[in-house]
């Protein structure tokens, strides 16, 4: 009998289930108990499917008892950001506009996760249409389990909070400008935005630079989920059809001698809070202990690439909502409806300019990595240690919270947030590695080495 199985990492849970030391029913029930206990306080999940989850768990336990081959995620549970459709579970994007919508099909990425044996236990809270959270959203914002008096950073806020509160084995988010990496950083989690095109975005509206991403308690958990999510989708013209390495089989690596670029000049120009820099310096020290060579680099174009990412996001958002904002204005929250209009003020030339700048930055950044023989660059994930600070009007409207994350949405480079300590408010701070296109494996290897050398994944909030 495994006690408190919900407190284990996803990889441990999967191993115990495959060995028969833990049943999927026991794990699902432990997560459901955790949801009953904590979700009323935290608002992490906005839909839960206990009957469906238990039924799938019974099927997996039965299959195992019969000696059938199980998938690598067999029997573990997932919380999925409510921007991604899951068959039979409400799909609201936290908006009154879609209050009664229930999808009849899974998004392709969800179908892949289920095929690997994962069980979707519920849908995670988020900011309405990825905007700023308000109490007038369909569901009020989630609270950070590390300090339940503080909001969770979004927009995949519920995904970060639900995993931290051990309501699921892993969670899925969507990152359009940092919306997975930022909550991963603020919840002591790993969250990777994979190379553009590795994971099909069908189901979330095909926004050009938003990626569906896994969040995990450990780097290995994150790699296991990503491995189940990647793959070519013929119906998705943006989906990558090339070869993809096995992440989990190759995750152990000797990272000594790996060159990591540190753009000190750019980092010093951001309004980093002291605890963010303290965590970042500790992270760099750990990389050196692992044998990595830190290289001071000069980087250009981060501000322009961030701006280009947001211009295209604004345009995509307005394009999707152009009819409904006229017809159903009052059904939108007061924050999201105004945010959604920004794209209506752009000209076609503005958009083409943004696309050109994004492509130029993409080529430049790949060349930078190549010229300096870098495996990755290291930055903080956010300059801010709390959601409240990042949402101050001036900061948010200038996108400063995303100054490290958003440039790599338009460029498409893989980027992972890792735990790096805690700020004064008890909220975790994150740090970030960004690498070459289609070298997601190196980021996972480096993160796994760091994970094994640090204590962050052994910590859990005292709620």
């Amino acid at each position: 009998m495994v006690t408190n199985p919900h407190m284990l990492s996803l990889s441990e849970q999967a191993r115990l289930i495959s060995e028969g030391s833990l049943t999927s029913v026991e794990l699902v029930q432990a997560h459901l108990d955790q949801i009953s206990k904590l979700n009323p306080q935290l608002n992490s999940l906005i839909a839960v499917d206990p009957e469906g989850a238990l039924q799938q768990a019974v099927e997996i336990d039965t299959a195992r008892a019969k000696g059938e081959k199980l998938g690598p995620l067999a029997g573990v549970t997932l919380g999925v950001k409510d921007a991604v459709p899951v068959k039979g579970i409400p799909w609201t994007i936290n908006s009154r506009l879609f209050e009664d919508r229930v999808p009849e099909e899974d998004a392709p990425v969800i179908a892949r996760l289920k095929k690997s044996g994962a069980i979707v236990i519920g849908k995670a809270n988020l900011n309405e249409f990825f905007s700023k959270p308000t109490e007038s959203d369909l569901n009020p914002p989630p609270w950070n389990p590390w300090n339940p008096e503080r909001m969770s950073v979004g927009s995949s806020s519920g995904s970060g909070a639900a995993l931290t509160a051990r309501m699921a084995s892993g969670t899925i988010g969507v990152d359009g400008g940092g919306s997975v990496r930022l909550p991963a950083g603020a919840h002591n989690l790993y969250g990777i935005k994979p190379t553009h095109g590795l994971v099909s975005r069908i189901g979330v509206g095909r926004s050009e630079h938003s990626e569906i991403c896994p969040l995990g308690l450990t780097a290995l958990d994150t790699a296991m989920m990503l491995e189940a999510m990647v793959g070519h989708e013929p119906s998705d013209d943006l989906s990558w059809a090339g070869e993809i390495p096995e992440y989990t089989a190759n995750i152990e690596a000797d990272v000594s001698g790996w060159r990591i670029g540190v753009p000190h000049g750019f980092i010093d120009s951001a309004p980093n809070e002291p605890e963010v820099m303290e965590g970042f310096e500790t992270f760099l020290s750990k990389l050196e202990e692992l044998g990595c060579e830190l290289v001071d680099i000069d980087i250009q174009g981060m501000a322009e690439a961030r701006a280009a990412t947001f211009l295209i996001l604004f345009s995509n958002s307005y394009q999707k909502h152009q009819k409904t904002v006229k017809q159903d204005w009052d059904k939108y929250g007061p924050q999201s409806r105004v945010n959604l209009l920004q794209g209506a003020f752009l000209s076609s030339t503005d958009l083409i300019n943004a696309g050109d700048v994004g492509r130029a930055f993409k080529a430049y950044f790949s060349q930078l990595l190549q010229d300096q023989n870098l495996k990755a660059i290291a930055t903080p994930t956010s300059p801010f240690a709390t959601a409240e600070r990042s949402r101050r009007r001036g900061e948010h409207s200038r996108g400063i919270n995303a100054c490290y994350t958003a440039p790599f949405n338009i460029s498409g480079h893989p980027s992972i947030s890792l735990p790096a300590g805690f700020g004064d408010a008890g909220i975790p701070v994150g740090t970030m590695l960004t690498g070459e296109m289609h070298d997601d494996l190196s980021l996972l290897q480096l993160s796994h080495s760091y994970d094994k050398a640090t204590v962050w994944n052994t910590l859990s909030p005292s709620i």
Binding site: S269, E304, Q342, A344
Partner: protein, 65 residues
């Protein structure tokens, strides 16, 4: 970006959505930010026949050289 004054922003906003008076200040603030982003993009556009010169891109968070 052709919307340069508050009046132009409000007029465009009222064309596309039934804005309330409370919606206007945040919308104006946001559009001013969008306009700054557009200017940043425009500043990088090259002469005809040339590519974007990445050496002219900024080195700091505010988009300064």
């Amino acid at each position: 970006m052709e919307y340069r004054t508050d009046e132009q922003i409000i007029a465009r906003g009222r064309q596309i959505a039934p804005l309330t008076d409370a919606d206007l200040p945040p919308l104006i603030t946001l559009v001013i930010g969008v306009r700054e982003y557009c200017r940043l993009m425009e500043s990088l556009m090259p002469e005809i026949g040339c590519e974007i010169d990445v050496t002219k891109m900024s080195r700091n968070m505010d988009g300064d050289a």
